[in-house]
Symmetry: C2
């Protein structure tokens, strides 16, 4: 059985436990026992308990970065960022994925510890996207402004995700509206 498959099995088991008992209240020992392995082996597949929850986010991040890199060079950065967010909007379209993601989000919001790790990953992701934009813009670019722009775009994404937990289909339009309102004057 491949490493990925085992990770996926652990993640599914762990998430159901988290939903049932809460993140902090579920020990690594319990997860390992539920999967049928030792605690030590759990840590061979995930470097921390947080990782189990945030692992899926990692892959989504790679997707965003690839999207952004493939946008046409002449396009205003703000629009490229909006298009890079398309995979997220798409996920919200699928009801199965959506309810799963909502569960994950509830787990994250329920634990300050986990929320902190989550924000840390977003931060790293923003750094990656900023570098992608920097490369595209060449030497004449203002690194600070680009960095802030990526942060601003993520703020729109983040803010739009909040109220959309109840209202399924509204995420895309809400993101469009927010990013239109926040569009920087510098984005031609």
């Amino acid at each position: 059985m491949s490493r990925r498959a085992v990770q996926s099995r652990i993640a599914r088991t762990a998430e159901s436990l988290f939903v049932a008992k809460g993140f902090e209240e579920t020990t690594v020992d319990e997860i390992a026992a539920a999967v049928g392995m030792s605690q030590r082996s759990f840590f061979r597949y995930f470097s921390s308990k947080d990782e189990v929850v945030l692992d899926s986010l990692e892959r989504l991040g790679e997707d965003l970065a690839a999207r952004l890199a493939s946008r046409p060079p002449g396009e205003p950065e703000w629009d490229s960022l909006r298009r890079a967010f398309d995979p997220v909007v798409e996920r919200f379209g699928d009801p199965v994925l959506r309810s799963h993601d909502a569960a994950i989000q509830r787990i994250i919001d329920g634990s300050p510890r986990l929320l902190a790790s989550y924000l840390c990953r977003l931060e790293r992701l923003q750094r990656v996207l900023t570098e992608a934009l920097m490369e595209r813009a060449g030497d004449g670019a203002d690194a600070v402004v680009l960095r802030a722009m990526v942060g601003g775009a993520f703020a729109c994404l983040h803010a739009s995700a909040f109220p959309t937990i109840e209202d399924p289909e509204a995420f895309g339009p809400c993101l469009d509206r927010t990013m239109a309102a926040l569009r920087p004057v510098a984005a031609r």
Copy 2:
């Protein structure tokens, strides 16, 4: 001796240890011993090891919120946010405070664990500032857009802080430049 004074003594002692040995490499036992108290007592003054480092940020946050609340109601939100950041710019002006803050920042960046907690606090602070803006704007306000705007302003602050670690006096102008470039079209 007042609670605040003890906290301050612990914080000073701990920070010097962190600078000398690194955050992760310094145990709470060591800090407690250096201050001359039991580990149990340390946790009566700070709820976690992170807290020691991030405590000062808490008070700065309150300052920002107060500044924002005292801005004239008619002022565009973006400008109010910029003015709310003035205390931060001022801190950068004082060389003593600046070098202290730089040390703190280096400690934070050196530990993923601590960086995560730090970002979590920034998140909470943003929520507070958003609520302040909401109150001011009244019922007609778009909560999502306001939330995103606060996030965007913080992104400017964050981005401006980065390159300014070496170049002392440039923080204020850099922040102005970035916030001018990112100014939302919605901000009249």
